[in-house]
């Protein structure tokens, strides 16, 4: 099998966390780290920012090419988890045999009822990632980060989180036998706090917004107090982010090795959207899907919509905002990958749109009553934005569209609780039932 080098040349300048374990590591097809801004290359390590320009580092691969059919058969014979795509991920070949949460291969739900409501005449699918071990897509990215943490010799797994990630890190660390210590804004939804705490790791509430938490973690990583810590979305971020590529792989495989025409993806930092695009382009390059145009649409809540505002304003940089929305898992006011989201939306002919909190709640209920899927607020954002894009004619209702639901509605009960309750409360008699107009 031939080898396709997906990035080039070498250099050694990059940001390494203080006193991190170093040395040669083997992470499958991962060949090096490469700066997304200036192309500077560096060896695989617990690094995240380019030493030349501060740009984000990402994993460059030597992917197997030349035998697409053989690769497809190997994937299809693999486990029903993200590890079926191990040949395309920065993980050791024997990853599936190690203790981890085995996330992924979640349902792609054909959403005909929702399609009728929205006036969609083509295929409409919901990629329902609430089916992951801790009920959000974060299990995918964390599973990859755990392998990087092992490779670099870290013994503590950590993160800054809007809630879902904290739970995913806690669970993955418990399974892997690592210590975990995670940081969240102090005012998160109770469901997410409990889900983060129950796995037994340390959970620290920070008095501030997610962006404050993120800043704190970035400073901790350069301090002796953070020595030996693998922060999944800081010094392990190049590896961790690759986990989102598996959403692209699964969607295409579940469509019968076919690209969707349109995808609607939530934006928090924007990393997930950019990695789904990367995954789609890899499948095309490897010959696993036919090369045809696709459009990527980004979805934000109006109360935290810096990328949407930049898209609408025609800007190529994103001005940070202070979030104020019920969609807390998307409430990142200073999104690290925002500029790349703008590039992708424009390159593919998509768009970035936002919806109000009221529209988010309506969309959660719409998805629940049409398809039996209870989405967290981020899912309400994507469904709400899908409706808005159809109404404004930017999303073609005749084509094949995939909408992402990245988390379980049980995590954000507060959003719908005020308007969701019993139809009636009655005495246990037939007369009471009829009197209530239910018979």
């Amino acid at each position: 099998m031939a080898v396709n080098t997906v990035a080039s040349t070498t250099d050694t300048t990059s940001a390494t966390s203080a006193d991190a374990p170093a040395g040669s590591v083997s992470l499958g097809p991962a060949a090096a780290l490469s700066c997304r801004e200036c192309g500077e290359r560096s060896p695989l390590g617990p690094d995240f920012a380019c030493g030349v320009c501060f740009g984000p580092l990402e994993v460059a691969y030597e992917l197997p090419t030349g035998d697409a059919e053989g690769l497809r058969r190997r994937i299809e014979a693999g486990p029903a988890s993200i590890w079926r795509y191990a040949p395309l991920l920065p993980v050791p070949e024997d990853v599936a045999a190690k203790p981890n949460t085995n996330p992924g291969f979640t349902k792609l739900v054909r959403a005909d009822n929702l399609a009728r409501e929205l006036g969609v005449t083509g295929e409409l699918h919901v990629k329902d990632d609430s089916g992951n071990p801790t009920h959000s897509f974060k299990d995918r990215v964390v599973a990859i980060a755990v392998e990087a943490a092992r490779a670099f010799g870290f013994t503590t797994l950590s993160c800054s989180s809007t809630g879902n990630l904290a739970g995913a890190v806690g669970a993955a660390a418990a399974r892997a036998g690592l210590r975990s210590c995670v940081f969240i804004p102090h005012d998160l939804e109770q469901g997410k706090v409990v889900m983060a705490a129950v796995y037994g790791g340390e959970l620290v509430g920070i008095e501030g917004t997610y962006d404050d938490v993120n800043r704190f973690c970035s400073e901790l990583i350069g301090d002796p107090a953070g020595e030996g810590w693998g922060f999944v979305n800081v010094n392990l971020r190049p590896y961790y982010a690759e986990g989102s590529k598996t959403l692209a792989y699964e969607i295409c495989e579940q469509l019968g090795w076919r690209l969707p025409d349109q995808l609607v993806i939530p934006i928090a930092s924007g990393s997930q959207l950019t990695k789904i695009d990367k995954g789609l382009r890899e499948l095309i390059a490897l010959g696993l899907v036919e090369d045809r145009p696709y459009k990527i649409f980004g979805a934000q809540a109006a109360g935290c919509s810096p990328v949407s505002q930049a898209f609408k304003g025609g800007h190529d940089v994103v001005r940070p905002v202070r979030p104020d929305t019920i969609a807390k898992s998307l409430a990142i006011g200073n999104p690290a990958d925002g500029p790349y989201v703008l590039d992708i939306a424009r390159r593919t002919g998509g768009a970035v749109e936002d919806v109000t909190d009221e529209q988010v709640v309506d969309a959660i209920k719409l998805l629940a009553r049409t398809e039996g899927i209870f989405a967290e607020t981020a899912g309400g954002v994507t469904v709400g934005v899908t409706r808005k894009l159809i109404e404004s004619g930017r999303l073609d209702p005749a084509l094949t569209t995939v909408v992402l639901n990245t988390g379980d509605g049980l995590k954000t009960l507060d959003a719908v609780a005020p308007s969701s309750g019993p139809t009636a409360v009655i005495r246990p008699t037939l007369d009471a039932f009829r009197d209530a107009g239910l018979g």
Binding site: F48, C50, C53, F54, V141, F231, R237, N334, A336
Partner: protein, 92 residues
């Protein structure tokens, strides 16, 4: 005005490995110029060819992101803490 500047790991090759250094200046722009004078090479890492903050650098004066304040013109009162942080962290 003397301020305390927190240096990220990525830039500590310019400060002899020190995580914090002192610098002078009444604005962030003056502080960065003083840093460059005493730790040559650090300036072009933080500022681009046009002299603007690179887009993947976050700078805080005390608790305030300078992008919400006056950018390089943000005042740096005596005793203030300045933090330079790579912006690519967080999220997924």
């Amino acid at each position: 005005m003397s301020v305390n500047v927190r240096i990220p790991t990525i830039l500590r090759t310019y400060t002899g490995g020190r995580a914090e250094v002192a610098a002078e200046g009444a604005t962030l722009g003056e502080v960065l110029a003083d840093l460059e004078k005493n730790h040559t090479g650090i300036g072009p890492r933080v500022l681009d060819d046009q002299g603007k903050l690179r887009r993947f650098v976050n700078v805080y004066v005390n608790d305030d992101d300078v992008r919400f304040a006056e950018g390089l013109q943000t005042p740096t009162p005596d005793g203030a803490g300045v933090s330079i942080i790579p912006a690519v962290a967080g999220g997924a």
